[in-house]
């Protein structure tokens, strides 16, 4: 009898205990599925949700300049990509692009007496995809295929496109032109952190404008052929591994030191006909990875210099610094420490 009562009490107690234990277990579960801690530990090469390029309502930090909470979808990829019905105006070069692609004309391009690169004259390939937001002429929400079904806008396959009202900054935004939903002009003041991770504040160069003469040339061939070679690129040309089947060539001045994860690797792109070997073009995405949660969306350098001491105080860079697993205060946190991204191509 006493044993029975005790048994009853124990079972009742267990049921009571089960609730907090269940809660604790679910809490543990949430720890494993929660967002990664900001700066602690190595960052993944790509994690679009945790960058300024997450334009959706699922962006994780209030204050993102595009207009938090006003965006009408929680989808992230849709602002640039679509699985069906993508823009074919620049086929292949703009992966399943869901935006109006600007006409490759009307840009003022870089020129210099020292410039030996051969240039297509106007932006091409993947750079046009970047410029579809960053030249400030096309609405940030000039999408072709809206989230879900029944929202295909053929008119937005050709410039100038038009807003879909997906992005409507509440009360205006420093970044977004309230009338056209394009990138605001005149935002070149460096008024805040310019890291790619979401930290709020205005990055200095969201809007490149159509005047690209003040920007590093894009759609330019590495000067190995054509207008005459430039010896500063000899190492790059001789030591970079061969292009892959798609024509993408990873770039390095030091044989064997490209990053193991090619998403972190500087690269050149094939020409518009994408025939491997037809050319080695520098485009926006040669240095930038729009999906990377790294400062300024930079890829990592393929250059190290054992004699170089970094401003971070981390000492000399080594190959270990370049990987995702490197010390966080070094390359992953400031890819261009020691100007190593620049020096990965330029022998200067």
């Amino acid at each position: 009898m006493r044993l029975k009562r005790k048994l009853f009490m124990l079972i009742a107690g267990a049921l009571v205990l089960a609730v907090p234990i269940l809660g604790w277990a679910m809490h543990l579960g949430s720890l494993t599925t929660g967002h990664p801690e900001g700066a602690a530990g190595p960052r993944a090469a790509e994690d679009i949700k945790n960058t300024l390029h997450n334009l959706s309502s699922s962006n994780i930090v209030a204050g993102i300049n595009i207009g938090p909470g006003a965006n009408t979808t929680a989808e992230v990829c849709v602002f640039c990509h679509t699985p069906h019905g993508a823009n074919l105006n620049a086929p292949g070069a703009t992966p399943l692009w869901n935006r109006t692609v600007p006409n490759p004309g009307g840009y003022t391009i870089y020129g210099s007496p020292n410039f030996d690169g051969t240039n297509s004259g106007q932006p091409q390939g993947v750079s046009l995809a970047c410029l579809s937001c960053h030249d400030g002429t096309i609405a940030l929400d000039s999408l072709i295929n809206m989230p879900g079904s029944g929202g295909f806008r053929f008119a937005n396959t050709t410039p100038p496109g038009g807003t879909t009202n997906m992005i409507a900054p509440a009360g205006g935004s420093a970044f977004v032109d309230p009338a056209l939903n394009t990138m605001n002009n005149s935002q070149r003041t460096d008024s805040g952190p310019n890291y790619g991770v979401i930290l709020g504040g205005a990055a200095p160069f969201p809007n490149l404008t159509t005047n690209l003469s003040d920007d590093h040339p894009i759609s330019m061939q590495i000067p190995s052929t054509g207008a005459g070679p430039d010896p500063q690129f000899d190492q790059l040309i001789n030591n970079s591994p061969a292009a892959d089947v798609s024509g993408l060539r990873l770039l390095t001045r030091n044989a064997g030191s490209v990053n193991a994860d090619k998403r972190d690797s500087l690269r050149s792109y094939p020409g518009v006909n994408r025939t491997p070997g037809s050319g080695y073009y520098i485009e926006c995405a040669s240095c930038h990875n729009p999906h990377a949660p790294r400062p300024m969306f930079l890829r990592l350098p393929s250059r190290y210099d054992s004699a170089m001491s970094l401003a971070s105080g981390g000492g000399a860079t080594t190959t270990a610094d370049m990987g995702v697993g490197g010390p966080v205060e070094l390359i992953a946190d400031n890819p261009n420490a020691g100007s190593l991204v620049c020096l990965s191509c330029h022998q200067k």
Binding site: A70, G92, G151, D244, R274
Partner: protein, 353 residues
Amino acid sequence: MRRLIVRRVLWIFVVVCALGIATLGSPVWATHDVRLSEDVSRTKHNLSSNPDIMATGTTEVCIFCHTPHGANLAASTQAPLWNRLLPDDTSYEVYESPNFDAQDFTGIHRPKGVSLACLSCHDGSIAFDALVNLPGSGGFVPTNLGFGRGPGTSTNSINFFGGAIVDGSKTFTEGLRDVTEVEKTSESPFSGGLHDLVHGGGGSEGSEPFPNLGLDLRDDHPIGMEIPCLTDAQFNQICQDLTTVKLDGGTDGTNVAYISRTSPQQALVWPMEKRDRLRAYPSTDQPGRYYIECASCHNPHTPRVSFLRLPSGVPGLVDKDLAPSDTAGNPTGKMWGQIPNAGSAICLSCHAK
């Protein structure tokens, strides 16, 4: 003494029970969506009920794709008991990009297996009623076996009174993408299924934007593509265990493998119902290679939005990502079951981006 032992044993029993209850926590989708994984009668793929197609002459549903006898063996391994003419896989222009390094032992990323089954309607070249075995007896049409181009042999016992999306050759009408600009209303999230049949019908939702993919697949996500496990690090996570623990029972080269960026042993990483899981298709020719096909993301029988399966194993996803927000930024509580790609969770289930 014996009572002490009994008490101890009971305590151990109690703790074990409590832990057992604790591990029974259901995945989030299970608590937010009560719709069946599959319920083809209540989707647009019920061609007799779909207001845009309105097949008459039969009330059967499955017949438009499947037959119990005499099926097309041309793609037998992955197009189950297919009752339709299959398209020639050399007919298509396929996706390409400098960043695209998926390989394929055929040398070109041609649609394969189950994708050819999808395209037998959705490339717009083959008639809806190019069936092999018609309902009932005495209606076997051997000219619709195998692969072919063109509309195939159309049958007269089934008629289509489709509006804008069915043309004279009983195929999907071309050119819809050029003229149709329709708007999704916030009240109609179930565009793949029942909701549309009940609430749609009007001009605003009558035509889906992409019933007809055409023969030019360059503007569509590649299919018939091998997952580039060896060359692109963004797929390292889904490639892990693809030939072992992610296999659907069976053997490598025979069974589909389920896609998850986290280990399937962890809780909450993929839908409990396997028909809701994203999957890769095996290569019977070269075991160990896995392919993305239409049905990797889409389930033609599901009443879910855009016939989508559900996301799985996306590191860092939390409820907030999965719920569309209202104008104040507050989640409205709609979860994957209603909007499977909220937070782009389907895209991110494969792409470590």
